[in-house]
Amino acid sequence: MTTPLLSRFQPMLGFWRGPNELETGRRGLMEMHFQSHFEGEVVQLDAHTWDIATGETFSAGTGLFALGPDGRIIENLYVERFGFCRLDETEDEPDVLALRGDLPDGFTMSVSLRLEADELLLTSQLKSGVVGMDLPRTVARLRRYDRQRGEGAK
């Protein structure tokens, strides 16, 4: 059985991993895990980024995606670096999930997710509202590793 929410997220469910660069310029390896709960009423995203050399985690967050009364996606998000916020779906191309919301410190966060073949492209940006204070856009290109033995496997 599918729900309107699951019909949007079904291709993303599972485990994804790939290089990520934060707005600070720090590079790492990002892992994302999408899973649905309560018969597809909510989709949970757990994301971590760790240092490639040491394995030390330097970014972590969890988001819960649900549908609002108008059929648009709402994400309740916790990111360790920013705290709690709510992102609302904004208009974009049909194959893009774009979300935007306000952070506690006055920044606005915009996030976009696009699935291209077996690659998930995640970008995010923090904007301050003050000209010239926008932070660089972060980009993560993630591949799913749950449909095959990875190329590194013996």
Partner: protein
Amino acid sequence: MSRRVADYLSWVGVWAGVGDTQAGQQTAIRTDFVAGLDGTSLQMHFEAWDTEFKTLYHGVRAVLAPAPSGVLRALGYSTIHGPLILELTPDDEGVMALAGDSRANNHLSVTFVQDAPGELLFTAFWRSADKSAQAEDGPRMTCRLKPATPWSPPRA
């Protein structure tokens, strides 16, 4: 017919129901299937309680995964039998039939059958090593499990 982990990933989620233990008591069962090891394994958390949720009759955690040869087995821990490795026996689509011996030589059999959409028939039994002659049709734990569906208000 040999099966793959992917054949069972549609079971991911929480399933629950009320059934009977092998000893004949009523039991409330909750089992949670989760994709593990990057989705290449199916992790299972199984609990059988008395219907007032005061006593955990039996708890099992297990990981169904492919051996390098491709055959599926389940690694497990049972609150009754301790560490386990169970073989997945070939069966029809929609059936997960696991069997094996505990370290104390108790024989265990666990089966989930998806006999209708949104319904799993769970059956399990174990017999001690000194009762090897006991017939396979002896008492067993049985329960019809349904996906834990959120309550919604009745529609007029």
